[in-house]
């Protein structure tokens, strides 16, 4: 019986930059989820019904996403960051206060999504460089969702 001495894929791919990047995207996503939830509760106006509904779909998507990202960090044998204060500090996402005009909720969320996209792109690229295809794949999946959301939001604001 022989015991394999080869390095596990996890050990090969565990890169502090990737872990940090994932934790940042985790924090960003958590902060965005909270802001989207706030918009869902407090939006008012002629577009209340569609916006209230779409904001709910989005925070539900983000709720699943944060779990997936955190578990990827764990799969890399590192620890996910957490706690509201810690996540908010890490994300440094500009927050908004209600009440706002309905279009302002959408515009503010666009800016928040753009921040997530910036950080996810960086993490995707770092994962690619390090050969961590699973993390890269996860970031690509998240980016696709954020970019689609951005397209829809920007279309709503266009006159």
């Amino acid at each position: 019986m022989s015991i394999s001495t080869a390095k596990s894929p996890v050990a090969v791919n565990k890169d502090p930059k990737i872990v940090d990047g994932l934790n940042l995207v985790l924090a960003d996503s958590y902060a965005l989820m909270a802001l989207t939830h706030l918009a869902h509760w407090n939006v008012e106006g002629s577009d209340f019904f569609p916006l209230h509904k779409i904001f709910q779909e989005q925070y539900e998507n983000l709720f699943e996403a944060v779990d997936e990202i955190a578990e990827r960090v764990r799969a890399l044998d590192a620890y996910a960051i957490g706690g509201l204060g810690v996540l908010a500090k890490a994300a440094e996402m500009e927050e908004f206060k209600s009440p706002l005009p309905q279009k302002d909720y959408v515009a503010a969320l666009i800016i928040a999504h753009e921040k997530v996209v910036d950080d996810a792109v960086r993490t995707r690229n770092e994962a690619g460089t390090a050969g961590d295809l699973q993390t890269q794949d996860l970031m690509i999946k998240r980016l696709q969702w954020h970019e689609k959301t951005l397209w829809m939001f920007k279309s709503y604001l266009k006159n």
Partner: protein, 142 residues
Amino acid sequence: MEVIDELIGQAGTVSADEVDHLLELRWKLRQYDDAEGALKLFCEVRLRMEQRHYLAFFRMRRWLENHLLASVSICPEANPQFVPVKLDHYCVEAIRRASLCLALRRGYVLLAPRLRFMFREVEFTKGNPPSAPSRSLELAEL
């Protein structure tokens, strides 16, 4: 500035007149010393263009709110107190009044109030406006 450059670059959606106003606004923001003038111009351009370019004007509003302060004095000789500026209105005087109301809600006593807008000296830190702006501007009598 990039937001303004992008707007100017959108052929067909911005008139020549509007380009002039945007360029003037860009110049004033770059100079960073005439907050009253910049705010007045922003309000004029916003009134005219916001419905067609909502996101761009939201970004500009956000930037201005992060970089402007209202300096409120209870009388001409008093040391000023500083309150953040919210651009919820399209007219400078309405914004001025709203800033005064914010000062009142914070418990400032206002005898013969003076309020002037100014740019923040340092980068905005969330929740912590700078304590001493460095630029002096003409007072706006109320």
